[in-house]
């Protein structure tokens, strides 16, 4: 009998998640790709140093008590003329250690980027599922809104949302709210591509018989969408999320550089670059150079990781 059950012990056949991951093609491709290994390494180092910034940073740049104005404009790796202190990446005009501000700034950048992508992803997935599964007028309305939004540059949309949100928040909360408004603005400007991809995948999956099998036993549309369709639509979403993360970090930096993003009391990498470019022509290059390099390394490695992920998860490119 060709269909005979294979003899096997129950324990040996059922593999854990981690074990299955270790044996997967995906992990094999990862191990073999230098681009993936290097960019994953850079991302991990940057993310870990941002998370553990308070432990790593030599000074807390936002504690006024620890600042010494005499330390201002110290070049990197050189002792200060007055105090004799030396800083890895120099100091800015107020004597803040640039290395420490970068670590703290990266926290804001990464947090805003990740939260914005998460927000965009959740919104996009919900919209895409509704649009693809129900079709009809819900589909038409959602997709036309998406089309219209795509005709505007996303940074313009983000600035518009940021402006409106800033207008409606009272002045005394503005600095506290700035980060959340930034997340909302970037997230809202970025949900469209998630919605489109999820809608496309939903249209394919909903006509498969396993969805029919779930429908005929009376499962609710919500259960079918989240339990059946979504897991099968998730791998392109993962790729877009990674690439969007790089774009969101850059969008946040752009907004902050333009002065409409993170306030100087909670500077992100973009804010640091904006502050730094004021000193560029007076010779204090390090105040701009190091935050800019960090942003470059972060965005580039996240983007390359996303590119690799797209190729690795696309069976047609194998």
């Amino acid at each position: 009998m060709t269909d005979a059950p294979l003899p096997a012990t129950a324990k040996a056949r059922e593999k854990g998640r981690w074990e299955r991951f270790r044996e997967s093609d995906f992990f094999y491709a990862f191990k073999r790709s230098p681009v993936a290994l290097v960019s994953f390494g850079v991302v991990s180092v940057l993310v870990l140093s941002a998370i553990f910034a308070p432990l790593i940073a030599p000074t807390n740049p936002f504690d006024p008590a620890s600042l010494d104005l005499m330390n201002g404009f110290t070049p990197p790796m050189e002792p200060n003329a007055f105090t004799g202190s030396s800083f890895l990446m120099g100091t800015d005009d107020q004597g803040r250690d640039v290395f420490s501000t970068i670590l703290y700034g990266m926290r804001i950048s990464l947090f805003v980027g990740a939260a914005a992508v998460l927000f965009a992803m959740v919104l996009g997935i919900v919209m895409g599922l509704i649009s693809g599964y129900f079709g009809g007028w819900a589909d038409t309305v959602i997709m036309r809104v998406a089309d219209v939004q795509l005709t505007f540059p996303s940074i313009l949309v983000a600035m518009l949302i940021f402006g409106i949100a800033k207008g409606v928040t009272p002045i005394e909360y503005r600095d506290q709210m700035a980060i959340w408004v930034l997340i909302l603005a970037i997230g809202l400007s970025d949900w469209v591509q998630f919605a489109r991809v999820v809608r496309g995948a939903t249209l394919v999956e909903k006509n498969k018989d396993y969805v029919a099998a779930a429908r005929l036993i009376g499962r609710s549309p919500w259960a079918i969408m989240t339990r059946h369709i979504l897991p099968n639509a998730l791998s392109p979403v993962l790729v877009i999320a990674t690439i969007s993360l790089a774009l969101a970090i850059i969008a946040e930096a752009t907004l902050s550089f333009l002065g409409v993003g993170a306030p100087p009391t909670q500077p992100s990498l973009g804010t640091l670059i904006r502050i730094g470019q004021g000193f560029l022509f007076s010779g204090e290059w390090w105040i701009l150079f190091f935050p800019a390099c960090t942003l470059l390394a972060l965005a580039l490695s996240v983007n390359m990781l996303g590119d690799w992920l797209r190729d690795a998860l696309n069976p047609r490119l194998r």
Binding site: T2, D3, R13, D209, Y210, A212, A213, L216, I217
Partner: protein
């Protein structure tokens, strides 16, 4: 025995019109495709009713309406007197849903690739509420797979094994009617026989009722207690297998049987079936079979034949005797 399933005047019409703007620009009206037209039949409990017909004859559409995946445009499907499409009481709907299950044609598309076999099989019970403990293992054993297969994913199985998993899922909620939509047409011939034998064993063991949708006449002869022949969404002949295969009444049934390959007819000249199934958007007038019918007369072009009893069979033909 009382009829378990009663289908009366079942009709399904699909709107296949182009979008509104195209219709206005091209000056065209709406277009409708009649997939199923005025079909009546009854299925007795613990029997197998087979629906046969060419591609596009509406077999699968009837199956989907029966289990409630499609709403009939007209007519009724009653399962133990309850009409799934019209019933308002959710408790009654749930009780009917629990009684019917479906096995699909393509075992590669009918199992969610991200779910473990255990979760796939127990999903119907999970929805209705019931004891899940050891259920998947028991059902896997019942369909001839190993209990330890419950922890695997669908891609680890062959087509025949997947179809067994589908059968196990269909059995999980202890249904009384299983609609089988071409359950073996995606399988190898050797595996087909195994799956069919499993299905008939389960039928005897559990007292199941099958609605078997297929285009494979040998399968039908093997399995069915009653056969309905569909042509362009209409039931043209209904009879028990013996009468149908020995003395087919409708010219279409005769044509189908002549076209089927036979073991004893090796090297025999087979007259190819005449013509093709017509466009269901613009079906022929009168009897829809008349353009292909060798014995058609004037009345066939004008009037749709009513179903009448000829010998042991119910036939929709003006001329059959």
């Amino acid at each position: 025995m009382s009829a378990f399933v009663t289908v009366k005047g079942l009709t399904c019409v699909f709107d296949v019109s182009k979008p509104w703007l195209n219709r206005v620009l091209e000056r065209r009206g709406k277009a409708f495709l009649t997939a199923v037209s005025d079909v009546d039949f009854q299925v007795e409990e613990r029997t197998t009713y087979a629906l046969v017909g060419e591609s596009g004859s509406g077999k699968s559409t009837i199956g989907r309406m029966l289990v409630g995946l499609l709403r009939p445009s007209d007519g009724d499907v009653e399962i133990e007197g309850i009409n799934l499409a019209r019933e308002e009481d959710p408790a009654k709907v749930a009780s009917v849903r629990a009684k019917i299950q479906m096995i699909f044609q393509d075992p590669y598309a009918s199992l969610n690739p991200r779910w473990r076999v255990r979760d796939i099989i127990t999903e119907p019970v999970l929805t209705q509420g019931g004891d899940l403990e050891g259920l998947a293992e028991k059902l896997l054993q019942q369909v001839g797979l190993h209990p330890s297969d419950a922890g695997k994913f669908p891609h680890e199985f062959s087509g025949g094994q997947r179809q067994r998993i589908c059968i196990a899922r269909a059995l999980a909620s202890q249904p009384r009617l299983i609609v089988c939509d071409e359950p073996t047409s995606a399988l190898d011939v050797s595996v087909q026989a195994q799956v069919l034998n499993l299905m008939s064993d389960l039928k005897d063991e559990l007292g199941l009722t099958y609605l078997l949708i297929t285009h494979d006449l040998t399968v039908v002869r093997h399995m069915a207690d009653r056969i309905g022949v569909l042509y362009l969404g209409r039931l043209v002949e209904e009879a028990d297998p013996h009468s149908l295969f020995e003395t087919p009444k409708h010219p279409y049934t005769q044509m189908l049987l002549d076209a089927a390959p036979r073991v004893d007819g090796f090297g025999r000249e087979v007259p190819p079936p005449q013509g093709e199934i017509p466009d269901p958007i613009n079906p022929p007038s009168g009897c829809t079979f008349h353009p292909r019918c060798p014995i058609a007369t004037d009345i066939c072009r004008r009037e749709r034949p009513a179903t009448r009893k000829v010998g042991n069979a119910l036939v929709a033909c003006h001329l059959a005797e």
